[in-house]
Amino acid sequence: MGNRSVVPFGPQHPVLPEPIHLDLVLEDEKVVDAIPSIGFIHRGLEKLVDKKDFNEMVYVAERICGICSFGHGFGYCDAVEHIMDIEVPKRADYLRTILFEMSRMHSHILWLGLMADAFGFESLFMDSWRVREKILDMFEAATGGRVIFSIVKIGGMRRDIPNEMLSDFLKTIDEIEKDLEIIIRTFLNDRAVKSRLCGVGVLTPEQVEALGCCGPYLRGSGVRRDTRKLGYAAYDDIEFDIVTSDDCDTYGRTYVRAMEILQSISIIRQAITKIPDGPVETLVKGFPNGEYMTRIEQPRGEACFYVKASGKKFIDRLRVRTPTFANIPALTQTLQGCDLADVPILVLAIDPCISCTER
């Protein structure tokens, strides 16, 4: 029967504000095969190490992605700090943790909104993004930027966040928590919403491990692994449980993300109460020499920053393996056999950040 057709999905496509391209092989509305192409926003920024010195690379690293900009800046600094054996002041570690978790919150809320948009629930999308603005306000107050912060540096933080501001944050976070209640309830309990999420893109724990997935995508399939438990920054001092879900489908992933927002709220509260006073940066002397790979938990999962340097102003190699990159093989797998109407949902399920994927 001659009813197989190939549809170019993306790079310009409204449910994918980012230019990923998929060749969807369709049979009616069924997707029988999907081939991704991810080269559209490749910039080649890893090669910038030849042109920017290791300090300037922080600005580049931050702009690997605008959503978890903080994490990328941090990850890069962490790797260099390891190579150079720099002890970061405790207060800086706590500030980093707080900002990191705020990033996670804003990223997950953003994701919830986009997901709502993907299944056509416009008011839910609007509501999520309304709440997110409050977090951006906090960012702006603390760092002066809404999405790109320019606040970490090798050896600590460029600016301190005063304690009064931190306690204001606590209040805002309470508000956010209240606002989120109905949003999370709609996502997790609404029958109509569940009908779009449950049973879509099922991957068993074995499959996600074999496909090398990470982040909420992994935990949504019941695997308990969260790189934060490695204890970088101040995570060692903070109590939190890894959120997992045994649903193994897009609903599970949604659940994990929704719960991680609440978890971040709790982490921020703990960190703000525990934060010590003191300096936020140490002096950095000399040039890095050696190699190191930092693994951190970005909102979308584990990101690896591999830095190799040979004692010069310019490092030899920076390689960033981002979570989306790791999840793309899983995406292609779940797309096979899904409905066309599920494609946006499945693409969003990995929370794609093509910017960092292609760098």
Binding site: E140, R159, D190, K194
Partner: protein
Amino acid sequence: MSALNYTGRALKNLFSKPATTKYPFEPADFKERTRGHVENDMDKCILCGLCQMKCPTGAITVDKKEQTWTIRPFSCIQCRCCVDGCPKKSLSMGRKYQEPGEEKISKTFDLSDSQKEALAAQAKAAAERAAAAKAAMEAKKKAEAEAAAKASAE
């Protein structure tokens, strides 16, 4: 499992005040730390060129000859690097962002007259010092040469 969870919020929103700002009909409110644009206090700048060197996008040009400091706001990524690195604290971050425009303008600032004078004075002083040093050096050389000549003569 429940249905129609969102009905209440939708209806409530309908009858409550929207969350929308009044911008552009009212001015936007920026936070104290907002990184909007780079300002240079031309009273303080010494045209050392450090900012030009540090800027990751090359948005700043310092022309020592013409005594101007130029920024291309359509290249500046508000990283605040120049501000932090300015030895004279002449740079600062303004809270208002650069206005959008039909052209990628660049803004050139002349050194303020007082600063020009100060710089000139400094330069003069430096030149004098240099001249003095030169003179001293030459005198020394001369002395040495003389001493050498003396020695060879002996």
